[in-house]
């Protein structure tokens, strides 16, 4: 996990990191672990003779689609899902104002859950869609 003297490359890594951190299913340490991987890959590719730009393209492509990856993280950490619903949206607000918001969120979650329950066939399709996102090439 190297820091690069190549400033444009560090800038690209910073943009990538900002994008990763916006995904709710990645927690701080997850983003750090993924960035470490990206940097190891970049170091190997630039040592092999690629320019910073070329190495970045290859490394990001190999890391894979971040949206599918985010879904896989959400599945691997299904215990975090409720926290994404309840805590994340109002983490920076005072506790008293977040109370009603939390009730609304819980209400919506219950509504969403019962909406999903009804059409069994639709749910089956959704599950299949989820399974097909196991994005090993």
């Amino acid at each position: 996990m190297t820091t690069f003297a190549d400033e444009p490359l560090e800038e690209q890594i910073a943009q990538w990191r900002a994008y990763v951190r916006r995904q709710q299913s990645f927690h701080g340490p997850d983003a750090e672990e993924l960035e470490g991987h990206l940097r190891d890959q970049l170091a190997a590719l630039t040592e092999a003779g690629l320019t910073g730009d070329e190495a970045f393209l290859v490394a990001v492509k190999r890391m894979g689609n971040l949206d599918s990856l985010s879904r896989e993280f959400a599945r691997a950490h299904s215990e975090r899902l409720w926290k994404q619903l309840v805590i994340a949206p109002d983490a920076n607000e005072p506790a008293n104002t977040s109370h009603t918001e939390m009730l609304v969120v819980l209400g919506l979650a219950v509504a969403a859950a019962s909406a999903i329950k009804v059409p069994g066939a639709v749910l089956g399709t959704a599950v299949n869609a989820l399974n097909s996102t196991v994005d090993f090439p």
């Binding site: 996990m1 190297t2 820091t3 340490p29 997850d30 750090e32 672990e33 993924l34 470490g36 991987h37 940097r39 190891d40 890959q41 190999r62 890391m63 894979g64 689609n65 971040l66 990856l69 896989e72 993280f73 599945r75 691997a76 950490h77 215990e79 097909s132 196991v134 994005d135 090993f136 090439p137």
Partner: protein, 112 residues
């Protein structure tokens, strides 16, 4: 060779556990080892290894800790647990059944 997604996904767990049974490691090194062991036939989308590792950690099959790496940044190292070794042994038996069965029918085909 274009490997089926399902097969690659199914083999990920025993492969990761078997690599960690060789010694503690971290994500990037595990991926390099997979490529090396498979002669490049098993190419993972790199990021997808991490949800697999985190799932194994939650199941208690591996343990993880952050340690300093050789270049200053910290890295997350994984180690197989006793439960992980038991899981690996069980997965190995299952894969041997599949492998043995396919060999049986394919060898019969060769002799015919």
């Amino acid at each position: 060779m274009n490997m089926s997604k399902d097969l690659v996904a199914a083999s990920a767990t025993p492969l990761v556990l078997a690599i960690l049974a060789e010694g503690d490691s971290y994500g990037y090194a595990i991926i390099k080892r997979v490529t090396e062991l498979s002669g490049g036939h098993l190419q993972w989308t790199d990021g997808m290894l991490y949800p697999v590792l985190h799932r194994l950690e939650r199941q208690g099959h591996v343990a993880a800790k952050w340690s300093a790496s050789e270049n200053g940044r910290r890295r997350r190292y994984y180690r197989i647990t006793r439960e992980g070794r038991a899981q690996l042994a069980s997965q190995r038996q299952q894969w041997q059944v599949v492998d043995g069965t396919l060999r049986g029918i394919w060898m019969k085909e060769c002799r015919a």
